[in-house]
């Protein structure tokens, strides 16, 4: 099912969807916010802070000690190809496809309906093409929207997507729409490539890292790292977590909480021994994990080129510089 939603009808459709389930989309803040009256949205701004990770894998939530874990269903609109790749290729793969099934994750995953959009104006930090993605990636989405001059080309990609489009008045897509749409796609890809042009598969970033494990390189690259963990927490592919306890006021529950391999206690064992006692070792591990280990496990790197870690880092560390340096 495919057709054009005219721009003047778009708000009424958002209202209709929001009446069905809470609808979240990028607000003026750049975060996914709940749609409501007089809501001002911005579907162009990237990256969307926080992305969709919090909705499917909350930063801290109970995983044992009660029956039901996920709240009710939601629609997430404005999802990008980079986030979809991480969700499908990394999260679904590790949590659902690999035994044992993480039933708690699955309950959160099953609650989300995903409406993806094209990235027509990628940020200067975007490099999704280098890690195997694209600014108009839609794989794993329920419904995809591509902005054209007077509206959106809408394409249903699942039964849920078809259901959402049911009852929506769709116009014909004109030849001029198709042509302009295709030109915009090409322009977006070109721009993303101009930001960074290594190919994670072809250029074997993981192999480069394995062959460049020396302290001097990584110590130099890590010199402004303050081990805040922001790169991991903002990353749509990172899922490292620790288990601890939380209370729901009646009883103690087992809780799962995001963790960061950049924190000094990450791999520490009882008695204090840690396999990576130095900051540069932990810093290197993040790259080694993403481009070597995860590439091997998931057949894709643990990086979808969203650039959030670059924008987040208070030490102004740019992952692309670290990788480029390995080729110099």
């Amino acid at each position: 099912m495919k057709g054009k939603i005219k721009r003047d009808k778009f708000d009424s459709i958002l209202k209709k969807w929001a009446a069905e389930k809470p609808l979240f989309l990028p607000g003026e803040s750049g975060l996914l916010e709940e749609y409501g009256d007089d809501f001002k949205y911005d579907l162009e701004k990237v990256p969307v802070w926080g992305g969709i990770k919090e909705f499917v894998f909350p930063s801290r939530n109970a995983v044992a000690g009660k029956e039901k874990f996920a709240p009710g269903p939601v629609i997430l609109l404005g999802v990008r190809g980079c986030d979809l790749n991480a969700l499908k290729g990394i999260f679904d793969s590790i949590m659902i496809e690999q035994e044992p099934v993480d039933t708690v994750y699955k309950s959160f995953r099953d609650r989300v309906t995903l409406i993806s959009v094209d990235c027509n104006s990628p940020a200067e930090t975007c490099f999704c093409v280098s890690t195997g993605g694209s600014p108009y990636g839609a794989s794993g989405s329920d419904l995809h929207l591509s902005a054209v001059k007077d509206g959106y080309i809408a394409e249903a990609l699942s039964e849920e997507g078809k259901r959402l489009l049911g009852g929506v008045e769709l116009d014909e897509i004109s030849a001029s729409d198709e042509r302009k749409y295709s030109d915009r796609k090409d322009a977006a890809v070109k721009m993303v490539k101009s930001n960074f042009s290594l190919d994670s598969q072809k250029d074997l970033i993981g192999e480069k890292i394995k062959n460049n494990l020396n302290k001097s390189y990584w110590d130099e690259k890590a010199k402004t790292c303050m081990q805040c963990g922001g790169c991991n927490f903002s990353c749509p592919s990172c899922y490292c977590n620790v288990l601890n306890e939380m209370s729901d006021s009646r009883k103690v529950l087992k809780a799962l909480q995001w963790d960061s391999c950049q924190l000094s206690g990450y791999a520490r064992v009882a008695g204090g021994a840690t396999p990576r006692p130095h900051l540069w070792q932990g810093f290197r591990h993040r790259y080694y994990c993403k481009f070597s280990l995860m590439q091997g496990e998931f057949d894709m790197p643990g990086c979808t080129g969203c650039g959030r870690c670059i924008k987040t880092c208070p030490g102004e560390i740019d992952m692309r510089d670290t990788i480029k340096g390995l080729y110099e």
Partner: protein
């Protein structure tokens, strides 16, 4: 319907045995039986203090009773050490691969244990005793810091009747009937067919590293040196990434590995 992998089984402490000044064995009774094989581990929750991985030291099989031997090494184990009979803990598992018994049977078996590494080895010794004919010759080398730190001292008499045992203490005293020195010193005292024997080495990382090196020097091939690694196993089933050593998840690909699989991986002995 898939089971929630994070849900633990409630268990009650039945008995607390003081083993050494900083090691205790907790005999626990689970509300549901759990089937585990020797060398596999469980995650034990100390309510309010945290969850830690331990390899049961008791007899394997389907059982509600389990011995968990615990060294006081951190925050959670300090709280656990204060626990008394009838107190409640929680257990989930079992996790990991366990010792490859089919590769240990019908040949000379050299067991090298150090410190709390004796806990999984005790369960292996139980296994061997229950299937005694399949293990023609068992030699055990055991090292501890001081005679007071010797784990399962009461069982050594019984084990000594079945197995060839050599002991070493880093700092011996007049009560000590073994050698003085580190466990690798004991290799000088034994005669094994290095081309055929299998060695199982469990202990602190530095001890496993040097014992494995020593065995290599003796001519034991890397695939016949079996080690059990201890890393930060948080979830136990490959979903949290904490225990990764090179490409291996210690929790599900291990904790038992062939020395050859892991010897050159970064940070493996740290």
């Amino acid at each position: 319907m898939n089971k929630n992998p994070y849900s633990p089984i409630k268990a009650q402490i039945k008995e607390v045995i003081d083993e050494t000044p900083n090691i205790k064995t907790f005999v626990i009774e689970l509300e549901e039986e759990m089937e585990f094989s020797t060398g596999q581990f469980v995650q034990l929750t100390v309510p309010g203090a945290g969850e830690c991985p331990f390899t049961p030291s008791s007899k394997t099989g389907k059982t509600a009773l389990m011995d968990i031997t615990v060294m006081k090494a951190g925050a959670a184990t300090a709280v656990l050490h204060e626990k008394k009979p009838s107190d409640i803990v929680y257990v989930r598992g079992p996790y990991g691969n366990g010792f490859p018994l089919d590769r240990l049977r019908d040949r000379e078996l050299l067991i090298v244990g150090g410190g709390c590494g004796m806990a999984p080895l005790r369960s292996l010794l139980h296994e061997i005793l229950s299937d005694r004919n399949r293990y023609p010759r068992v030699i055990m080398l055991y090292g501890c810091k001081t005679p007071r730190d010797m784990l399962y001292g009461d069982s050594f008499g019984e084990w000594g009747e079945e197995f060839e045992i050599h002991k070493a203490a880093d700092k011996a005293d007049s009560s000590w009937d073994g050698k003085q020195g580190v466990v690798t010193e004991l290799f000088k005292d034994i005669k094994v067919d290095a081309a055929k024997c299998v060695a199982v080495v469990v202990g602190p990382p530095v001890m496993m590293k040097f014992a494995s090196l020593e065995l290599s020097k003796m001519g034991v091939s890397d695939d016949r040196i079996i080690v059990s690694l201890e890393k930060n196993m948080t979830c136990g089933f490959g979903k949290c990434r904490h225990c990764l050593v090179g490409p291996y998840y210690v929790c599900k690909d291990g904790p038992v590995f062939e020395y050859g699989q892991v010897k050159d991986l970064p940070d493996v002995w740290d």
